[in-house]
């Protein structure tokens, strides 16, 4: 049923057609040729794994990013979208995951932001504006008064205001990026009703979501992206879960139950985590981690993996749950305590949370290791030769490409910056090292070096946790993989069962009883 022709049976003349859009960022090909056509009033789904190119295409349509190749046709007329303003004028509206409002303004002012307003004697006639907006606000179900402040409104209400904003601009296509990510079930239902209502009135919706249930329920057609390409477009009855997953993954999916589990007896347990919870992102997570083991944590963006890492590391406090480290109770109140107890973290946001970008390579390497480079604890002057020797050793061991150790770390490439963040912990030799998206934005060469390094650290007895959104990364690297969905661990893959397909399929797990670790 999978059709390779993206343009099949658009019964109506399409509102917008994007053909063979290509876009590269630096050397990375984000889109290699994707196509999409959306008819007026259609609810069109867009799915694909993390990094499949959905966000890039949305940015192209929004005029935020200029494509390298391809063309966009609106109402049969080829158009160019050099700025977001052009996209708005053509009737496209974009609602992103992080909704941006101006907090000091009221609902009405936010709805009309950037729209020419009626004036009397040069002053905005807000009463007239409110009369114009009121019917639209009522239609989408905004409960808050138009003159109320936007402060303290719920995410759901923010969505409604954004939809209203789109309709006031006479949008003919509304692009919704993960609309239900932070909505409750009841709020999501309301949103679905509005989407259906929009569709009935001729407004098209491009519905981008990881949640396949919603896609199956709402969409009349679904485009699937994989690795920056269009891999097909499903229609009507052909939109089924297996078909969607197969298209997202590319190839047949073997069922999880069939996958053999190899219980791996290993060395001592380093870290146990029991019923760790911090609502709403992390929900009763249990696992144990042994020395010498590389444990992967897979799942979709927003599944609660980074939040779990922060709990273990003491960067956030859990609501409940207990941990042990080397058999002793472990409940760090802050990262300082976690580091002292023997943890290390390579954070997801390298520039924002990992590095002091203007400081030197040596500074960044030694910042977690100062006790080892002072002359003596009583005379805590930095021993410069020790500092230099230890820094050079890490630079050599990890093959960090840098002119010298005094070069500002911001001048290094992404891969080399990442090596510096990892290298910082090698000097401390932590018991447990957590790497959050260790190869994001890293070139292929550095990526395999980092992988080799992780295996090496495990071989030396370190317990390693690797969080990754790339399904390809975990099979290469891990002895065992936990898959998280909406804050829970839903499955555990071991040994041969860790395949790209198994990781992706489990990431889309919905409903049913999550399988918990049974070893605890």
């Amino acid at each position: 049923m999978l059709s390779s022709d993206t343009f099949v049976s658009a019964t109506m003349k399409p509102f917008i057609v994007a053909e063979n859009i290509a876009k590269a960022y630096g050397g990375v090909q984000a889109l290699t040729g994707v196509s999409l056509s959306i008819a007026p009033g259609e609810v069109h789904g867009l799915v694909g794994a993390n990094g499949a190119g959905k966000s890039t295409l949305i940015k192209v349509l929004a005029g935020l990013v200029q494509p390298d190749a391809g063309r966009i046709v609106v109402d049969d007329v080829p158009v160019s979208l050099p700025t977001p303003h052009h996209a708005t004028n053509l009737g496209m509206s974009f609602i992103h995951q992080e909704l941006a409002f101006i907090p000091g303004m009221n609902v009405l002012q936010n709805i009309l932001l950037g729209v020419p307003k009626k004036t009397r004697f040069g002053m905005v006639d807000w009463q007239a504006a409110a009369r114009d907006v009121a019917p639209i606000a009522e239609r989408v179900g905004i409960k808050a008064p138009l003159f109320a402040s936007v402060k303290g409104l719920s995410t759901a209400e923010n969505w409604l205001i954004n939809i209203c904003r789109a309709l006031v601009r006479n949008a003919r296509l509304i692009v919704m990026d993960e609309p239900t990510a932070s909505l409750s079930a009841a709020e999501a239902e309301k949103l679905f009703a509005i989407v259906e209502d929009l569709s009935a009135s001729g407004v098209a919706v491009l519905y981008v979501s990881h949640r396949l249930d919603e896609i199956m329920r709402l969409c009349s057609r679904v485009s699937i992206f994989r690795d920056g390409r269009s891999v097909g477009c499903l229609e009507g009855a052909a939109i089924t879960r297996p078909a969607l997953i197969e298209a997202i993954v590319g190839g047949k999916v073997e069922s999880l139950a069939a996958a053999a589990r190899h219980p791996v007896a290993r060395r001592d347990v380093a870290l146990t985590v029991k019923a760790l919870t911090r609502a709403p992102k992390v929900n009763s997570v249990c696992f144990e981690l042994r020395r010498g083991e590389v444990l992967g944590i897979g799942g979709l963006v927003g599944a609660g993996r980074t939040e779990l890492a922060r709990l273990i590391y003491g960067a956030d406090r859990p609501d409940s749950g207990v941990m042990t480290l080397d058999g002793a109770a472990f409940s760090p109140r802050n990262p300082t305590q976690a580091v002292k107890a023997g943890l290390g973290l390579v954070p997801e946001e390298r520039r924002a949370e990992g590095l002091l970008i203007t400081k030197s390579v040596a500074f960044n390497l030694q910042i977690a290791n100062l006790a080892n480079i002072v002359r003596s604890p009583a005379w805590p002057l930095i021993h410069r030769r020790k500092r230099e020797a230890l820094s050079l050793q890490i630079v050599r061991d990890l093959a960090v490409k840098t002119p010298n150790i005094d070069t500002p770390v911001g001048r290094l490439s992404g891969g080399n910056q990442q090596k510096v963040v990892i290298g910082r912990w090698l000097l401390r030799a932590p018991k447990v090292l957590i790497l959050d998206e260790p190869t994001r934005g890293v070139d292929i060469g550095a990526r395999s070096e980092i992988h080799r390094l992780v295996r090496e650290l495990a071989a030396r007895g370190m317990a390693v946790i690797v969080i990754s959104s790339e399904p390809d990364e975990l099979p290469d690297l891990c002895d065992r993989v936990l898959i998280m969905v909406e804050g829970r661990v839903v499955s555990t893959l071991e040994g041969e069962a860790i395949t790209r397909n198994a990781v992706v399929e489990a990431s889309y797990f919905v409903g049913g009883q999550p399988t918990q670790e049974t070893t605890i």
Binding site: Y313, A315, N334, P335, T336, A338, V339, K340, L345, P347, A352, E353, G354, L355, L356, I357, T358, K359, F363, Q366, I367, A368, L370, A371, I373, V374, P380, L381, I382, P408, G410, R424
Partner: protein, 331 residues
């Protein structure tokens, strides 16, 4: 304080290098130029050893308070309480000596400990109660002004100040070098070693550079920030004491104007040799620029109002240069 290059234009490497050099060394070149011009215009009065010693002596108090402020701004906070605090400390130290008849060294130790306590309070309000440091220290500073008036009833403590206390600031106990200069050199030298050469200093720099990254690297960010405020508070206390000694009296609001001088110097310093990063040596150069500027204006008999204009203009130029440096290093 971040700025965007107008129109997002890319600079050519050559012009970037030239602009970068200008941003880094403009302050030092400006200082040398100023000295040269004054020396040329007033070859008798200005370029003499006694005038230079005099300038440095005068500038020492500003250098100490600005050195302390440097620690606060390195950890990423502003301390607006220092001027008011120094005024209170001046009143207090005179009061303790004159009214309470305390031995001079004990009075000094008490007042410096109080300075540390004020810094601690500032630090706790900022890190634990999460009050923006501008507001917190402005509030604390205003309270301190109130306390100074309450303590002295607004009347300067003049009578009965012992000669020994005056000699603290006016004396030349070592090789004929004014005490102020020696105390300043010890304080700034100590601060420089602390920031640039110790493990603690690395943590101080890390917290100022990127608090989120410092925290995840295991540094206790709150404790380091509090330390910055404590050092700032102690330096303010020392400045207040030396000022009271120099004036021979404890006068409410005597040291208030040091606030602006210290800020101008600290920002000038951040534009000196480094791309918009605060550092102790830079602050030293910053105070020198302001001190020589005032000295020159004095020698030429420029009216008082010109000093305010000079200092305000210097502050703006300094922040502009620091931003330019940061912009270039980040582009």
């Amino acid at each position: 304080m971040s700025m965007v290059m107008s129109g997002g234009r890319r600079l050519s490497p050559a012009s970037k290098a030239a602009l970068g050099f200008f941003a880094r060394y403009a302050t030092i070149i400006g200082l040398l130029l100023m000295i040269a011009v004054f020396a040329f215009l007033s070859p008798r009065a200005f370029p003499t050893l006694s005038n230079f010693t005099n300038v440095l002596n005068q500038a020492s108090l500003a250098m100490i308070i600005a050195g302390g402020l440097t620690l606060a701004v390195i950890v990423g906070e502003l301390d607006l309480s220092i001027g008011f605090a120094a005024s209170l400390h001046g009143v207090l130290v005179t009061g303790l000596i004159v009214a309470n008849k305390l031995p001079i060294p004990l009075a000094i130790v008490i007042v410096i400990a109080l300075g540390a306590l004020i810094g601690l309070v500032n630090g706790l309000i900022v890190t634990k109660a999460k009050v923006n440091s501008v507001i917190a220290t402005l509030g604390v500073g205003t309270i301190l002004t109130g306390l100074a008036f309450a303590y002295s009833a607004g009347v300067p403590i003049v009578a009965g100040v012992p000669e020994a206390f005056l000699q603290l600031s006016l004396g030349r106990w070592l090789f004929g070098i004014p005490n102020n200069i020696i105390i300043m050199a010890v304080v700034l030298g100590g601060l420089w070693i602390l920031v640039e050469r110790t493990a603690l200093g690395q943590e101080i720099q890390a917290v100022g550079g990127n608090p989120a990254a410092a925290r995840l690297a295991g540094i206790n960010v709150d404790r380091i920030k509090i330390l910055g405020f404590v050092v700032s508070g102690m330096c303010a206390a020392l400045t207040g004491i030396l000022l009271a000694s120099r004036l021979g009296s404890g006068t409410t609001s005597a040291a208030d104007s040091y606030l602006l001088t210290a800020f101008a110097a600290v920002f000038l310093g951040s534009a000196t040799m480094r791309d918009g990063e605060f550092h102790v040596l830079g602050t030293f150069v910053g105070v020198l620029i302001i001190a020589f500027g005032f000295n020159g204006l004095n020698i030429f008999g420029a009216p008082t109002f010109s000093q305010y204009i000079f200092q305000g203009a210097i502050l703006i130029v300094a922040v502009g240069l620091a931003s330019l440096g940061r912009m270039i290093s980040e582009s």
